[in-house]
């Protein structure tokens, strides 16, 4: 081959390599197109869908009843109930769950709904915080989130949240754990395929807290994220860790516009 012919071929080769790299880069960071997003509800059996749809057979509603009672119950040294400040939750809490996590100016970081409830308890009710995954915190969160059922997820347009959301996105796309997996590899690149007997969901946080049949109880998004981390054999963070809130921020942004289903039922 003459030197001239070789020089002639090189740009073409470079273009092919560049094309391959671009293609890989796209598939690796491939966010799901907005119109292809779907709730894991769509993958459930007819029976499980019926369970979620009917409020008298959805076990999550048992927690909602508890939450409603807690909403009106006086608590703490201040002897004040949530309802004493916020009034009827049906009006005052409508759409709240759809826009959380939100930035808390005093703390200088985002807080999720559970943390907001506990901040309210500490500051306004002078009550002790409810432990993560306790019946009461799940009940209050479910009751508040139910008031947003059917509303589109609407992450706030707040510049202060951007660095935290970006941190969440980085965590989401970073390989971690002994299996060296990232969230993205399952939930963006391989959703809809089978992982053992289950369909890989897209991982949208639209129905939390959820009643998971496997848990036989209601559980938070943090509990679900810990599930995934254990599955990846990665380090789990303690409940309430900033990493979960960052991740929740990114996941809510990723699910923007999708409808809140709380309390959702999942197998």
């Amino acid at each position: 081959m003459s030197a001239r012919a070789f020089r002639y071929r090189r740009p073409a080769l470079a273009a092919i390599i560049a094309a391959i790299f671009t293609a890989t880069a796209f598939s690796a960071s491939g966010e799901i197109p907005l119109d292809q997003r779907r709730s894991a509800y769509a993958d459930m059996s007819r029976d499980n869908k019926a369970m979620q749809d009917d409020d008298t057979s959805n076990p999550g509603m048992l927690w909602v009843l508890d939450g409603e009672a807690l909403w009106g119950a006086k608590a703490g040294k201040a002897k004040r109930a949530c309802a004493d400040c916020h009034g009827d939750a049906r009006a005052s809490m409508k759409g709240v769950a759809a826009r959380y996590p939100a930035f808390d100016a005093t703390l200088g970081r985002p807080v999720n709904l559970e943390q907001r409830i506990n901040l309210c308890r500490a500051q306004r009710q002078q009550a002790s915080p409810l432990p993560y995954e306790s019946k009461d915190i799940l009940a209050l969160t479910a009751f508040i989130a139910l008031q947003s059922r059917g509303q589109p997820i609407a992450p706030p347009d707040d510049k202060r949240l951007t660095p935290f959301r970006d941190a969440g996105r980085t965590q989401y796309s970073q390989r971690q754990g002994q299996l060296n997996l990232s969230c993205q590899q399952c939930h963006d690149d391989n959703w809809g395929k089978n992982l053992a007997g289950n369909t890989v969901p897209q991982g949208h946080p639209s129905g939390y807290p959820i009643y998971r049949l496997e848990w036989q109880t209601l559980g938070s998004l943090q509990r679900r994220l810990r599930n995934c981390l254990i599955g990846m054999r990665a380090e789990i963070y303690p409940f309430g860790a900033a990493e979960y809130v960052n991740m929740e921020l990114y996941l809510m942004w990723r699910a923007r516009g999708m409808k809140i289903e709380t309390p959702a039922v999942r197998p």
Binding site: M51, D54, D55, T56, S57, P59, M61, L62, L65, D66, L213, Q216, T217
Partner: protein
């Protein structure tokens, strides 16, 4: 306090077969599990469910340790007359819960 959710149609025609759905919050601890220290967690389940229609028993179920938490029981009966359909759950450690619903039969 155990929370209950019951679904009974408000109205029915005489002789119509109606579906009744009931749900109750209960941990249904089997008695076969052990805690982190190896001690057995004592059994704590609902073992009986009874439904009465204007005082007459129309459905009864015996529950056992293999039943999942928050038992959901659904069954059918014939709408005979207007009145009250009452439900009673009883179980370990003196557990007892009740609920009722009104039905109008035309």
């Amino acid at each position: 306090m155990a929370r209950t959710l019951v679904n009974v149609p408000k109205k029915a025609k005489r002789g119509e077969v109606i579906t009744i759905k009931t749900l109750i919050s209960h941990i249904m601890e089997t008695g076969f599990r052990h805690n982190s220290l190896g001690a057995r967690i004592p059994r704590d389940i609902i073992d009986s469910f009874v439904c009465t229609y204007n005082g007459e028993e129309v459905f009864r179920a015996a529950l056992h340790p293999a039943i999942a938490a928050n038992p959901f029981i659904t069954f059918h009966t014939v709408a005979t007359e207007s009145g009250t359909i009452a439900f009673k759950w009883t179980g370990d450690n003196g557990f007892s819960a009740a609920a009722s619903a009104k039905i109008t039969v035309e």
